[in-house]
C-alpha cells in the first residue's frame, strides 16, 4: 500500500518551504504514491503549481493550508495559539475548495497588507468551525488536523497531563462532528522533545482516548534530506536571527528529518510509533488506513472542484447587456464601423467586412464575446473618467478591438494578423493590456472595483523570489556575518542569478576581489565566505513574499472569491494569492492595466494647451495646425480647444520632420541614444516606418544583425532579395528582412498552406527543442510538396529557426508606435506644453536636467522659481517682459526642491500671493531651512525687486542664515516652524547690503544642489573658456563634419549603457550633453582600457574620438580616450603654437589664448553630490 503525504509545504510557503511543487510531485509519484497534498503556510500560494505538477506526474492533488489559529483565551487580535492544517474535501462540486478559499481570506481579513503589520494572518476557531460545514448541505467539507504545532501539540512538552486534554476537548467542542483529526508526527528528534516519537505517541493516545481518528504525516518542508540546510537558512531569514542565535534559543528545527519520506520509511516510522505506544498491529493498520481514507476524501477533481481551465467572465448583466453577448458584440462593432471607417466602400469595405466576420466567428467558437465586451467596458469606463487609455500588445491585432475603441491601430492598414492574438487552436483567454496615465492608475483600479463590485474584482499578485543580492544578504545574516561586510559584497552582485554565484566568482571582474578572499579561507579563517556562496546558491529563486502585481487586475463573476483567496495589498485593495502563472489554469480573466508615465505627460500637455488657448482658433494658431476642411482647423481639435490625440491623423509631415531630425529627446520609445542613432539611419517617412523602427530596436534584431541589411535595402545601397517570389508580398514592407512575428506566420502559411492559426502554433514551437524538430519536419515536407526547391526551403527554414525565438510582434510595435507618434506630434506643435508634461511626469530614461537643457536648446524660456507664480506643477506661461516677451515659457514648480515637504508645498500654494517674507512665514509656517533654500533659488527675487533698494539675493541668503544661527544659539525652546521669531516688519527693505551678487556659477550650483537641475544656465557654460582652449567641438557643429574626423567633445554625462553585444565583448555607450545637444559616444575595448575608471566615475567628460556618420542626420563619436574635465591638470591642452591641431577646423581652439592651463574658476558641479539625479548614473 502506498502512503499519502497530507502535510507538505512547498517553496511557496515563503521563508519556510524549500522544494518546488514539481520536485515534490515527481518524488511522490516515483515512490508509487497516488495522491499528494500541498498545504502551504497562510495561503494557496503554491496550490495551482501543485495542481499542474500533480497532473503531470499522474497524482491526484490534495489541497489545503497550514494556518495559524488565534488563542481563544488570549487577545483574539494578536495572540496565536498554534498552527493547524486544514484540508479541503474533494468531489463535492467545489464545496470544499470554496470553503478553503473563504477561510484563508478570513485569515487575512484583519491584516493590513503593509510590512510590519502587528496582526498575524490567522483564523479564530469560530471561523474555522463555520467554514468546516457546507452552508447548503451541512456536510463537512474541511478537515482540521490537530498536529504537533497546534496548541494541543505544543502543550505536550514536559509531563503535563491535563493541559493537552483540556485543549483537545475545546477543539472537539468547538468544531462540528467529523471535522477534526489528530495528526501524528515523529521526526525522530531526541526522546521527549518536540517532534520526537514520544511526542507522537502522546498525540496518538490522546486521539484514541477521545475516539478521534489519527493520521500519520511527516510535516514535510523539503523533498529530500539535502533541503534541511536550506530550511535552516529560511528559518533564519524568517525570524531575522542568525543560526547561532537560533540554535541557542532553540528555535531551529530539531534536526533535518522533515523530508518527503518514502512509503516504506513512513511505514517504519508508523511501526516505531505504534511500538513505542505499546499498541499492536491492528492499531498500525488503523493509523495508516485513516491516513489513506482522509487522503481519498480530499482528492480533488481539478476541473469539477476548482474550475481548472474554465474561463469565467463577469455576468452579462454586469456589463450592461441583455440577451446574446455575441449579438451585442456584433452590434457594437457595427456601430464602430461608421466611426472608424466613415464612408468606406468598394473592395476595402468587402475586405473589412470579411475580416470582421472572421474575427467574430473565432470569438463565437471560443465563447469569448463576453470577454471582449468586458474589456471594452473597462476601456470605456477609463475613458469616461477622462483618463487616457490605449491598448498595447497583441490586442492591437484585432479589428473588433479597434472598432470598439479598445485599440487605436487599424489592423487592416498595418497587416496585423488576428491569429497572433486569438485562434481556435488556442483556447486560453488572450491578454489585452491597457496603458493608462500612471498618475491615475490607482484611481482606475478603485473605479474597476466600484464598477464591477468587490466580489468580482481582485488585484493579481506576484511572487518575489530571491535574487543574488537578497540571497547573499540573508545567507550572511544566517551565518551571523557583519552587516557592513555583507553589504559590501551584496553591492557588487549585479544581474546574475544566485544559482551561478560560484561561477560568477570566476568570471566577473567586479567580483575578483571577493573571489580572492574566498580562496584565502585557509589562512584567514574565511571559511564563512565559502559557506556564504553555498547558502546564497541555495536560496536562489525561492519565493520571499508576494506583492501587488504592477498591473494585473482579475475580473470574474460573483463566484470569484470562491475560487481565489484574497489578502490586502499594500494599496489596501484586495489581492489574489495567485500570480500570473495561475491565471490561465484557473480560467481567470486578467487585465493588465499598466500605468504609463508618458500617457500622464501627454494628458498633462493637452490640459496645458487648453488652459493657455481656450478655443479652437487659439490652439490652431498656437500649434500651427492645418486649416482643415472648412478653414477653422482640423476636426480633432474641439471648439473649446481640446485636442483628441487619438484622432490626430498619423501622417503629419512636420512631426516626421522632427523625428528625422533626431531631436527626439522626451519622445516615447525613440529618445535613447541607440534609438536616436537608428532613427537617424532609418529616417522614418510614415507611421509604418515607426512600427518597423520600434520593432527593430529590440535585443534580438540588434544582436542578430538584422538591422544593417534592412537599412541597406531600404536606402537602396543593396538590392532587395526575397528567398522566393511567393514571399515578396510577405516581406516587402521590410525589404526582404524578416522582422515581425506576423511575417513568420505568413511565411509558414504561404509555403505550407497550414493556415494562420496553426502557423502561430508553429511559431510558438520555434526554439523549443522537442517541438521545433516536428515543425521543421512538417515545414520541409509540405514546402517540398508545393515544389519549393531544397535551396529555398533550407534558406527559409534557416531564417525561421534563427528568428523565431526573439522576433517581435508587429501588433506590439504598432501599439507602441501610437504614443511614440503622439508624443512627437506634441513636441512638434506644442513643445512648451509637452516639455512641461515631461518635466512633471518624468517618463523617460534621462535625468530631468537634460530635458530642461532640451527646452533651452529649443529656445523655450525657462522661468525661474517664484514664490507667487510657481505652483505645485510645472506651468506654461506667456512671458510678459524681457527679451523673450511674447514667447511661451515654462515656470519651474515648487515640487522637487530638496527639503521642502509636501505639506509645506501645499500651504505655500494655498496661500499665494504673498506680499512679504513675513506674510509668507505667518501664513505658511514653513521651516527656516526651506525659506533659505527658496531664497537661494531666487524664489523671492520678485518680492525683492518690488521693494527696490540695492541689496541682492546673496544679502538675503546671508540675512536668513544669520537669523537661523541666532535662534539656534537661543536654545532649543524655540520649535522650528513656530511663529515665535521676532522678525522685522520690513525685512527686505531693511536688508543690509554690500555682498557681491551671486555669480551665475553660484546660482547654477545652488540649483543643481537643491533641484538637480541647472536652470539659469547650462552647467557646462561655466567651463566654456576651458573648452575653447582645448579646442572642443560642440554637439551642434558635429553634423557638419566629415565622417572619420578626429574631434574633442565635452559635456556632462546623461546616459551610460552597456548593452549585450554580439560576440560578447562589452561595449560602453556614453552620452554627454554640452548645452547645444547630445553627443553619443561609443567606447570599444581599447578605448575602455585607455579611459579606465573614468568610464564610470566621471560626471564631466572630455572625449577624444572620430566621427561616425550614422545617417543623413545622425553622427556619433567612436571614442579613443576620455578625461575628467574637472581635473584640469590632466587635460590635453594644445601645445603653444599648435593651433587648431584638433577638430579639423571646426573647433575654436585656435582662437583661445595660449599659455599655461587656466587657473579654473570653480565649476557649477563642484561640491555637488547628487550624481545620480544629475547624470542618471552613479557608477
Amino acid at each position: 500500500m502506498s502512503f499519502t503525504h497530507l502535510h507538505v509545504s512547498t517553496a511557496f510557503s515563503a521563508h519556510y518551504g524549500v522544494s518546488w511543487p514539481e520536485e515534490l510531485a515527481a518524488a511522490a509519484a516515483a515512490d508509487g504514491a497516488t495522491a499528494l497534498a500541498c498545504t502551504d503556510r497562510d495561503g494557496l500560494y503554491g496550490t495551482i503549481k501543485h495542481l499542474k505538477a500533480c497532473m503531470a506526474a499522474g497524482l491526484d492533488p490534495i489541497v489545503g493550508v497550514d494556518l495559524a489559529v488565534f488563542d481563544d483565551d488570549g487577545d483574539l487580535r494578536t495572540q496565536v495559539g498554534g498552527r493547524v492544517v486544514v484540508l479541503a474535501h474533494g468531489e463535492n462540486a467545489g464545496a470544499g475548495y470554496r470553503a478553503l478559499c473563504r477561510l484563508i481570506s478570513d485569515a487575512h481579513s484583519r491584516t493590513t497588507g503593509k510590512a510590519g503589520g502587528t496582526v498575524p494572518a490567522a483564523v479564530t476557531r469560530a471561523e474555522l468551525a463555520s467554514r468546516a460545514l457546507d452552508p447548503q448541505t451541512l456536510e463537512p467539507v474541511l478537515t482540521v488536523l490537530i498536529g504537533p504545532d497546534s496548541d494541543v501539540g505544543r502543550s505536550m512538552g514536559g509531563r503535563r497531563y491535563l493541559r493537552p486534554r483540556t485543549l483537545f476537548k475545546q477543539w472537539l467542542d468547538a468544531m462540528p462532528a467529523g471535522t477534526v483529526t489528530a495528526e501524528v508526527v515523529s521526526q525522530l528528534s531526541a526522546p521527549g522533545e518536540h517532534l520526537s516519537t514520544a511526542h507522537a505517541v502522546r498525540m496518538l493516545k490522546l486521539a484514541a482516548e477521545h475516539g478521534v481518528p489519527a493520521v500519520l504525516s511527516n510535516a514535510v518542508r523539503y523533498v529530500a534530506e539535502d533541503g534541511a540546510a536550506t530550511a535552516d537558512v529560511l528559518d533564519s531569514a524568517r525570524t531575522l536571527k542568525s543560526l547561532p542565535e537560533l540554535a541557542g534559543e532553540p528555535l531551529l528545527q530539531p534536526n533535518g528529518q522533515a523530508w518527503l519520506k518514502s512509503s516504506a520509511q513512513m511505514l517504519e516510522l508508523g511501526k516505531e510509533i505504534i511500538h513505542a505506544a505499546g499498541f499492536g498491529a491492528a492499531d498500525l493498520k488503523s493509523l495508516l488506513a485513516h491516513t489513506e481514507a482522509l487522503a481519498d476524501r480530499c482528492r480533488m477533481d481539478p476541473a469539477a472542484d476548482m474550475g481548472w481551465k474554465q474561463p469565467v467572465v463577469p455576468e452579462a448583466a454586469v456589463i450592461g447587456i441583455e440577451g446574446d453577448p455575441l449579438a451585442e458584440l456584433a452590434a457594437r462593432c457595427e456601430a464602430g464601423i461608421t466611426r472608424r471607417f466613415p464612408g468606406i466602400s468598394g473592395s476595402s469595405a468587402v475586405e473589412m467586412r470579411a475580416r470582421l466576420e472572421h474575427e467574430l466567428r473565432i470569438i463565437d467558437s471560443l465563447g469569448f464575446a463576453s470577454y471582449f465586451l468586458t474589456v471594452a467596458e473597462v476601456s470605456r469606463m477609463i475613458t469616461d473618467m477622462g483618463v487616457r487609455a490605449a491598448a498595447r500588445g497583441s490586442g492591437a491585432s484585432s479589428l473588433v478591438n479597434y472598432l470598439m475603441g479598445v485599440s487605436q491601430v487599424n489592423p487592416l492598414q498595418h497587416d496585423l494578423i488576428f491569429e497572433r492574438f486569438l485562434s481556435r487552436d488556442r483556447a486560453t483567454l488572450p491578454d489585452i493590456d491597457i496603458d493608462v496615465e500612471s498618475a491615475e492608475r490607482h484611481n482606475v483600479y478603485r473605479k474597476i472595483f466600484d464598477r464591477f463590485g468587490t466580489e468580482r474584482v481582485t488585484l493579481m499578485s506576484m511572487q518575489n523570489g530571491y535574487r543574488a543580492r537578497g540571497a547573499v544578504r540573508d545567507a550572511g545574516l544566517a551565518l551571523g556575518m557583519e552587516g557592513g561586510d555583507i553589504d559590501e559584497i551584496a553591492k557588487q552582485l549585479w544581474r546574475f542569478s544566485a544559482r551561478n554565484f560560484r561561477e560568477a566568482l570566476v568570471e566577473k571582474p567586479e567580483l575578483k576581489e571577493f573571489a580572492g578572499r574566498v580562496e584565502q579561507r585557509d589562512f584567514t579563517g574565511n571559511q564563512q565566505l565559502d559557506l556564504l556562496v553555498d547558502l546564497t546558491e541555495r536560496l536562489d529563486r525561492l519565493p520571499r513574499h508576494i506583492s501587488m502585481h504592477p498591473c494585473g487586475v482579475i475580473l470574474g463573476d460573483a463566484t470569484l472569491l470562491d475560487r481565489t483567496p484574497v489578502q490586502p495589498s499594500g494599496l489596501g485593495l484586495p489581492m489574489s494569492q495567485f500570480d500570473k502563472h495561475d491565471m490561465d489554469p484557473m480560467g481567470m480573466l486578467k487585465l493588465d492595466v499598466l500605468g504609463v508615465r508618458m500617457q500622464s505627460a501627454m494628458a498633462f500637455a493637452v490640459r496645458e494647451v487648453i488652459r493657455l488657448h481656450p478655443s479652437k482658433a487659439d490652439v490652431v494658431a498656437a500649434g500651427n495646425h492645418q486649416p482643415g476642411p472648412d478653414g477653422s482647423g482640423p476636426d480633432y481639435i474641439a471648439e473649446d480647444g481640446t485636442i483628441d490625440l487619438n484622432a490626430v491623423p498619423l501622417d503629419d509631415e512636420p512631426t516626421f520632420d522632427l523625428i528625422r531630425s533626431t531631436h527626439t529627446l522626451g519622445c516615447f520609445q525613440i529618445e535613447s541614444p541607440g534609438q536616436r542613432e537608428l532613427i537617424g539611419k532609418l529616417a522614418p517617412r510614415e507611421f509604418n516606418d515607426l512600427i518597423i523602427d520600434i520593432s527593430l530596436f529590440r535585443p534580438g534584431p540588434m544582436k542578430s544583425d538584422m538591422v544593417r541589411p534592412f537599412l541597406e535595402h531600404r536606402h537602396g545601397f543593396a538590392p532587395e532579395v526575397f528567398p522566393h517570389p511567393d514571399l515578396k508580398p510577405v516581406l516587402q514592407e521590410t525589404h526582404g528582412v524578416t522582422v515581425f512575428h506576423e511575417q513568420i506566420l505568413k511565411t509558414f502559411d504561404v509555403m505550407t498552406g497550414c493556415g494562420l492559426a496553426r502557423a502561430d502554433e508553429f511559431r510558438r514551437a520555434l526554439g523549443n527543442e522537442v517541438l521545433e524538430n516536428q515543425v521543421e519536419e512538417f515545414f520541409r515536407r509540405e514546402a517540398k510538396r508545393r515544389d519549393y526547391s531544397p535551396a529555398v526551403v533550407d534558406k527559409v527554414w534557416g531564417t525561421l529557426k534563427a528568428f523565431g525565438s526573439f522576433g517581435f510582434c508587429k501588433a506590439h510595435g504598432a501599439a507602441f508606435a501610437v504614443p511614440t507618434y503622439q508624443s512627437a506630434w506634441l513636441k512638434t506643435h506644442h513643445p512648451e506644453a509637452f516639455l512641461a508634461g515631461i518635466w512633471e511626469h518624468d517618463p523617460g530614461m534621462y535625468p530631468k536636467r537634460l530635458l530642461v537643457a532640451e527646452a533651452r536648446r529649443m529656445g523655450i524660456p525657462i522661468l525661474p522659481l517664484d514664490i507667487n507664480r510657481s505652483q505645485a506643477e510645472y506651468r506654461v506661461e506667456p512671458v510678459v517682459d524681457g527679451p523673450d516677451r511674447g514667447k511661451l515659457g515654462i515656470r519651474l514648480s515648487l515640487k522637487g526642491i530638496f527639503g521642502l515637504s509636501g505639506a509645506e508645498l501645499k500651504r505655500i500654494v494655498a496661500g499665494q500671493p504673498y506680499d512679504s517674507l513675513a506674510d509668507l512665514r505667518a501664513r505658511t509656517r514653513i521651516s527656516k531651512p526651506s525659506i533659505q533654500r527658496l531664497a537661494q533659488l531666487g524664489a523671492f527675487d520678485s518680492l525683492h525687486r518690488a521693494v527696490g533698494g540695492n541689496t541682492n539675493r546673496a544679502d538675503l541668503v546671508h540675512h536668513l542664515q544669520q537669523l537661523q544661527t541666532r535662534t539656534q544659539r537661543k536654545g532649543a525652546e524655540v520649535i522650528e516652524g513656530q511663529l515665535a521669531l521676532p522678525l522685522g516688519d520690513v525685512e527686505l527693505t531693511n536688508l543690509k547690503g554690500g555682498r557681491p551678487a551671486p555669480t551665475l556659477v553660484d546660482t547654477v550650483r545652488a540649483e543643481l544642489d537643491l533641484m538637480a537641475v541647472d536652470v539659469s544656465a547650462h552647467l557646462v557654460d561655466s567651463h566654456r573658456p576651458l573648452l575653447d582652449r582645448l579646442g572642443v567641438t560642440t554637439a551642434d557643429q558635429l553634423l557638419k563634419l566629415r565622417n572619420g574626423t578626429e574631434v574633442l567633445v565635452a559635456g556632462v554625462r546623461v546616459a551610460t549603457q552597456t548593452p549585450p553585444m554580439r560576440g560578447g565583448r562589452r561595449v560602453v555607450f556614453i552620452s554627454i550633453d554640452d548645452g547645444t545637444g547630445c553627443v553619443d559616444s561609443v567606447f570599444f575595448h581599447e578605448a575602455q582600457e585607455q579611459a579606465g575608471p573614468l568610464l564610470f566615475s566621471t560626471r564631466l567628460l572630455l572625449i577624444r574620438g572620430t566621427t561616425r556618420r550614422t545617417g543623413p542626420r545622425g553622427i556619433s563619436i567612436s571614442a579613443s580616450m576620455a578625461w575628467d574635465l574637472s581635473r584640469t591638470d590632466t587635460l590635453p591642452f594644445p601645445a603653444a603654437g599648435a593651433g587648431t591641431g584638433l577638430g579639423g577646423g571646426a573647433g575654436t581652439g585656435g582662437d583661445a589664448p595660449e599659455g599655461p592651463p587656466l587657473d579654473m574658476a570653480p565649476g557649477a558641479l563642484d561640491g555637488i553630490r547628487r550624481t545620480l539625479a544629475i547624470t542618471g548614473f552613479s557608477g
Binding site: 521527549g192 534536526n255 533535518g256
Partner: protein
C-alpha cells in the same frame, strides 16, 4: 558522564540496528532495546561547505543510545550514546552515561 569522540566498531542487524560493539579493545553485547534519534549539528560552524546536493547528514547525525554489557563482566551494564555519521557510516562514541545507566533522557541534549 563524559564527552568523547572515540571511534567504535558496531555490528548491525540487516535493518541497520546495532547488535554488538567493540570499544577500546573490548566487546559488548546489547542488553536492552536501543533508542535512536537524530540530533542537529552546528553545521555552519563545523563545515567548510554546504553546497546544494550535499545529501543527508549535513544538518543532523543519527544517535543511538545503547545499553551494553561487557561479556566478561555480565553484572555491569553501560549506557553509551553513539553517533553514526550518515555520510561515512562511521560510528563514534559521543557520551558515556556511567552513573546514569538506564535513564532514557539524554543528559546534555
Amino acid at each position: 558522564m563524559g564527552m568523547f569522540s572515540e571511534s567504535v566498531e558496531v555490528a548491525c542487524t540487516p535493518e541497520g540496528r546495532p547488535e554488538s560493539l567493540v570499544w577500546a579493545g573490548r566487546s559488548y553485547e546489547l542488553c536492552a532495546e536501543p533508542v535512536r534519534w537524530f540530533e542537529r549539528r552546528e553545521w555552519w560552524a563545523e563545515e567548510q561547505r554546504a553546497p546544494l546536493g550535499s545529501g543527508p547528514g549535513l544538518v543532523d547525525s543519527e544517535i543511538w543510545r545503547l545499553e551494553v554489557r561487557d561479556a566478561s563482566a555480565p553484572d555491569q551494564s553501560l549506557t553509551l550514546d553513539l553517533s553514526r555519521h550518515l555520510r561515512s557510516g562511521r560510528w563514534r562514541l559521543l557520551r558515556l552515561h556511567d552513573a546514569l545507566a538506564g535513564q532514557r533522557r539524554p543528559a546534555s541534549a
